[in-house]
């Protein structure tokens, strides 16, 4: 896609079109490529944690197995479901935006936001249990009577991974909130909804990462 060709309508009618782009398509595609590149960096950021987790698990298989028993599978599964559904609602939000159905966009964004809130709520419950039992990362690990040593290592990674992921969820909520505001102002249309599109991509990635975290942390058998 190059600068060639002229825009259908004068720029005046395309307030969102930045000066250095010739066409809305060009701008939209550029932003999309940018977003995917950003998602890749996110994957590799978490990748470091995956690598560390994998190696430590190779070195302390037994301890990891013992330790993961302290996690609440039910809550983990619940959160997985919550996040999957939120992913669906987000996809619907984008879908409606593309169709220019502004009211449904708002509706689905609201749903997604609530589900994200639920997710963090559940995490809060889980965390508070761990804190109470002294299942804390690193040198703060205070749990007594472990069968095998080195279980703190599991919780180091549990908190690092879910923590970083949680931060991403929170950030996502901020973005969705901002989208809601713009959607309510009716700034999006079938011709311009890139922000919704990009936020959607981000949200699905956050979901995808959890899809891996869940079995890695909760389902070691």
């Amino acid at each position: 896609m190059s600068l060639s060709g002229t825009t259908a309508e004068p720029r005046a009618e395309q307030p969102f079109l930045q000066h250095h782009f010739a066409l809305p398509e060009q701008q939209a595609e550029a932003s999309k490529i940018g977003m995917w590149l950003f998602l890749v960096t996110e994957i590799l950021l978490f990748g470091g944690l995956f690598a560390g987790y994998g190696v430590m698990r190779m070195l302390h298989a037994e301890a990891f197995h013992q330790a993961h028993a302290h996690l609440d599978r039910a809550l983990g599964a619940l959160n997985t479901v919550v996040l999957l559904v939120s992913s669906f609602t987000m996809a619907m939000a984008v879908h409606s935006a593309r169709r220019g159905e502004r009211r449904r966009v708002v509706l689905f964004l609201l749903l997604t936001l609530t589900l994200a809130g639920v997710f963090l709520g559940v995490k809060y419950v889980e965390y508070s249990h761990k804190f109470r039992d002294g299942l804390l990362p690193g040198r703060f690990y205070a749990h007594r009577g472990d069968a095998t040593p080195g279980q703190f290592m599991f919780f180091s990674f549990y908190f690092l991974m879910t923590g970083l992921h949680g931060l991403h969820v929170a950030a996502g909520m901020v973005v969705i909130g901002w989208l809601l505001r713009r959607a309510l102002r009716g700034e999006f249309s079938a011709r311009y909804y890139t922000p919704v599109d990009l936020a959607g991509l981000y949200w699905h990635l956050v979901d995808m990462i959890w899809i891996y975290l869940f079995p890695m942390l909760y389902l070691i058998s």
Partner: protein
């Protein structure tokens, strides 16, 4: 516009995908309970299912199925790099030579007896 999927995937598609995702979640949880002999089998199964779910999200929710291929290329390159990173980290950890003073046993004396990769390489 060309950024949007050529073949619109509609509400129904999204609903189906969601259903499958939820089903697969149930499957992993159940599978985790079953004992397939070696624990490694469970790990493989769990990760396989996760990858299946992941690709569904990527293909439909993230439109990669209908997008222009460029974005998919970017995504896959990222995954490839991640794979390389994990692969070498694990390979090194798995193939370290257990060394020990003949008195005390090595920290991970597990494979003390088996011919170490160095010996194999040397033999070849």
């Amino acid at each position: 516009m060309s950024a949007t999927p050529q073949a619109e995937s509609g509400t129904r598609t999204y609903l189906c995908v969601l259903a499958v995702l939820l089903a697969l979640t149930a499957v992993t949880v159940l599978a985790a309970g079953v004992n397939f002999g070696a624990p490694s089998v469970n790990v493989v199964i769990a990760l396989a299912i996760a990858s299946l779910k992941g690709s569904l999200v990527a293909l439909y929710f993230m439109h990669l199925r209908h997008e222009r291929p460029m974005n998919a290329v970017i995504f896959l390159t990222g995954l490839a790099m991640l794979a390389i990173f994990l692969m070498f980290c694990f390979l090194d950890t798995a193939s370290r030579e257990p060394v020990a003073p003949s008195a005390a046993p090595a920290p991970q004396a597990a494979g003390g007896a088996r011919p170490t990769s160095a010996r194999i390489l040397r033999a070849s």
